[in-house]
């Protein structure tokens, strides 16, 4: 993947973020083109254009209220639930428009989401993981057993969970619950995992485990993560997008963003001079 970095990034011209460059490339998982999002009359996202590459971790950073979580939610149409939301522009997933060409149920199967607060169902560990596959119509226990074990292993929580599969998930620690939620997301075989500040409620050890997990998972999944933790963004992401007041200010390789940001606003924000 790495050799393609820069070809669609327009890395020499991230300053102006020329929206006309959002063209399809085989490695693009998402192509976002001139995306506007309104909450009523308030414009929360302004002409966002960016390509999100397959099997990469893309971090979205910016101050509170900058639109990064709104943008993340748009990628699996979580904003549909808000009747005041109006969206213009397009978001292509594997070259299909997520608003017009993909059923929202399928979209959310392909594009999973992990939230800030771990939110396991008040069910057993096993049933948490099996929930999605059951909804998809898988009922055979042998098949579900395989999915549960595979998902828990992928989420690096199998060893801690294997002897208590039928106990309540709510008895797990916060860090374990968050990995369980990641396992639950993986069980439906998504292509993309969206993470909205997945470690902000966790202690440093649990945070490290999630970060390690993200680096493992990116071999097989495209990951988009919202984080307020600058070091986290620099540790785990390949690309970083900086949002401010609904604008995408700068989008580039994480190394460039954190060593040599092109836009003074990005520099001000990441160095803490902002505001």
């Amino acid at each position: 993947m790495r050799e393609y970095i820069g070809d669609v990034m327009g890395e020499s011209n991230v300053h102006s973020l020329d929206t006309s460059t959002a063209v399809h490339s085989i490695q693009d998982k998402f192509i976002v083109d001139k995306l506007d999002l309104y909450y009523g009359t308030f414009k929360a996202l302004k002409e966002i254009s960016m390509n999100i590459k397959e099997s990469e971790v893309t971090a979205l950073i910016g101050p509170s209220g900058c639109g990064k979580s709104t943008f993340l939610k748009t990628l699996n149409r979580m904003n549909d639930l808000d009747s005041t939301v109006r969206i213009e522009g397009s978001v292509l997933l594997d070259n299909k428009n997520i608003f017009t060409e993909i059923d929202v149920i399928n979209l959310r199967q392909w594009v999973g989401m992990v939230f800030q607060q771990p939110n396991p169902f008040p069910k057993s560990i096993y049933d948490n993981i099996a929930y999605g596959p059951r909804v998809q119509g898988i009922t055979k226990k042998a098949e579900l057993d395989i999915i549960v074990e595979r998902s828990l292993r992928q989420a690096a929580i199998w060893d801690e969970a294997k002897d208590r599969l039928h106990k309540s998930a709510l008895g797990m620690s916060g860090g374990q619950q968050q990995r369980l939620c990641i396992a639950r997301t993986l069980a439906t075989k998504p292509d993309v995992i969206l993470m909205d500040e997945p470690t902000s409620a966790l202690d440093p050890i649990s945070t490290l485990k999630i970060e390690e997990l993200v680096l493992e998972l990116k071999k097989d999944y495209t990951i988009v993560i919202v984080t307020h933790n600058m070091q986290q963004a620099s540790r785990i992401s390949d690309k970083t997008a900086f949002f401010l007041l609904g604008d995408l200010i700068e989008y580039n390789t994480t190394e460039e963003i954190f060593t040599n940001p092109k836009n003074p606003k990005t520099e001000e924000y990441i160095t803490g001079r902002f505001g």
Partner: protein, 225 residues
């Protein structure tokens, strides 16, 4: 948070400039000692070295603490990493000034190196480059830093000329073999001083522009070929 961090950056920068001034002073003294064949001045240079080493340790520790506590990024990170590299260049540079001073002390009754025009010329040249490299850092002057980098080949040429002249002098007995070899070593130390000031200037350019140091040095060599 940022106010405190800014103060820390300012402090480490100002300590670096103080260290650089001491090194520049020691180099100036070494060159003057050579020009005047003054062993007392040369001894002063040697006495400055422990102080320079202390500065290096202090600034290195300060930078490590900034990395640890502030986790700087972007231009802050470049400044801290440039300073960490440049203190080591400064120490190497001061070692060369000490070596020159020791050779002056050893030989001052046998030869007046200040009468060897090539050595005086080289000494003045590399001292100017060192001064400019330090100044370029302190005022973030990319143009001046590039000017220092571009002078690398000039120093190399001066060294080649000095070497030829000294070898010829040894052959024609203008130099006694011992003093001739020491004159050659002085010219080599001066050439290395030129290299260290070029490296400092390259780190300053990196700090300002994020251009990799190897690219800066390579482009300078190419442009001078």
């Amino acid at each position: 948070m940022r106010k405190h961090f800014d103060e820390e950056l300012l402090q480490v920068k100002s300590e670096f400039i103080t260290m650089a001034s001491v090194v520049d002073k020691s180099l100036l003294q070494a060159i003057t000692a050579l020009e005047k064949n003054d062993p007392v001045l040369a001894r002063d240079v040697i006495e400055l070295e422990p102080k320079i080493l202390d500065f290096e340790r202090l600034i290195e520790r300060r930078c490590m603490l900034i990395l640890l506590y502030q986790q700087p990024v972007a231009s802050d990170l470049r400044m801290v990493s440039a300073i960490m590299k440049m203190i080591s260049e400064l120490r190497h540079l001061s070692n060369q000034a000490t070596e020159i001073s020791e050779l002056i002390i050893t030989n001052h009754t046998k030869i007046h190196f200040g009468e060897v025009e090539e050595l005086v010329e080289m000494g003045q040249k590399v001292r100017r480059m060192t001064y400019d490299a330090i100044h370029a850092f302190s005022v973030s002057d990319e143009r001046l830093a590039r000017q220092v980098v571009s002078q690398d080949d000039e120093v190399d040429n001066l060294f080649t000329n000095a070497k030829k002249m000294i070898v010829k002098g040894i052959k024609t007995d203008a130099f006694k073999p011992g003093t001739g070899v020491d004159a050659l070593m002085i010219s080599k130390h001066m050439e290395k001083i030129g290299d260290y000031s070029v490296a400092m200037a390259a780190w300053t350019i990196y700090m300002i522009t994020n251009e990799p140091v190897e690219t800066i040095l390579a482009s300078s060599t190419n442009s001078n070929v």
